[in-house]
């Protein structure tokens, strides 16, 4: 089945959100400055990028 460009963006958005959340999950189990930094500089930006890409896919046409 052919995938539209919107669905492709949603797929990428989902992958980014999953990657960001996995980083966040890892950092939640560790109380250390490096975990805090990884959460702030990797986990949050990945999740945020996924959310923004999803919103962008809603706002654009095929």
């Amino acid at each position: 089945m052919a995938i539209s460009s919107i669905e492709q963006r949603i797929r990428w958005a989902g992958l980014l959100v999953v990657a960001g959340l996995l980083v966040q999950l890892l950092t939640m189990t560790w109380s250390h400055p490096l975990a805090f930094m990884a959460f702030l500089t990797i986990g949050c930006p990945l999740t945020l990028a996924g959310v923004l890409l999803y919103l962008f896919s809603l706002a654009t046409r095929e």
Binding site: V17, Q24, T27, S31, P33, T47
Partner: protein, 225 residues
Amino acid sequence: MQEAVDLYAQSRKIVMPALTVIEILVAGMTAVLAGLVAFRADLTRARGGKILAFIALFLLPALAMAAGLSQQMEKSKSTQFCMSCHVMEDYGKSLHVDDKSYIPAAHYQNNRVPRDQACYTCHSDYTMYGGLTAKIRGLRHVYIQYLGNIPKPEDIKLYTAFNNRECLHCHAGARSYMETSSHHKTSDMLQLAAENKLSCMSSRCHDTVHDVETLADAKFWTEKN
């Protein structure tokens, strides 16, 4: 001395807070749902799939991120977090010195500060955004720890002189503070302290603070469970 090295670790048994467990469950569930949408993007053609995508790719990630940030901020207040850096180890040990003239040790051992947030309680300004400025200073510490030149423990100094405001946040109005004779050596002593013109710590009164260079000769207190 070796016994003292492990004092902090022995006395603080870390239990994962319930909120962290909830946050982990929310983030895990969100990751599963987002993964489902990612691998079955065709689901979003139906109305139910659109709602699922909105929940999995917007609502829940935003919630998980906000909750995670809150948890990370809370964790970063912990004494264990501050002691993560090797250079801070001696400061942790100084909390266990068996000598009440060491101000941090006296506060820590007598529960005058919460032991789990001992560093944060005294080293965060009691002002608006005090917690935020403490976090910004913390980011600088992380930078120095991993990318800068780490100073020797005894060379670490405060950025600015310790403000009496941090002491008086708890001690102001307390009978032991207001009525003790040593605080009335001059008639304006309390007034000067309140205005931070007479330092509690550097006016030869309570001037034994962490003093990590003296720890080699110190005796240590062991918490009895």
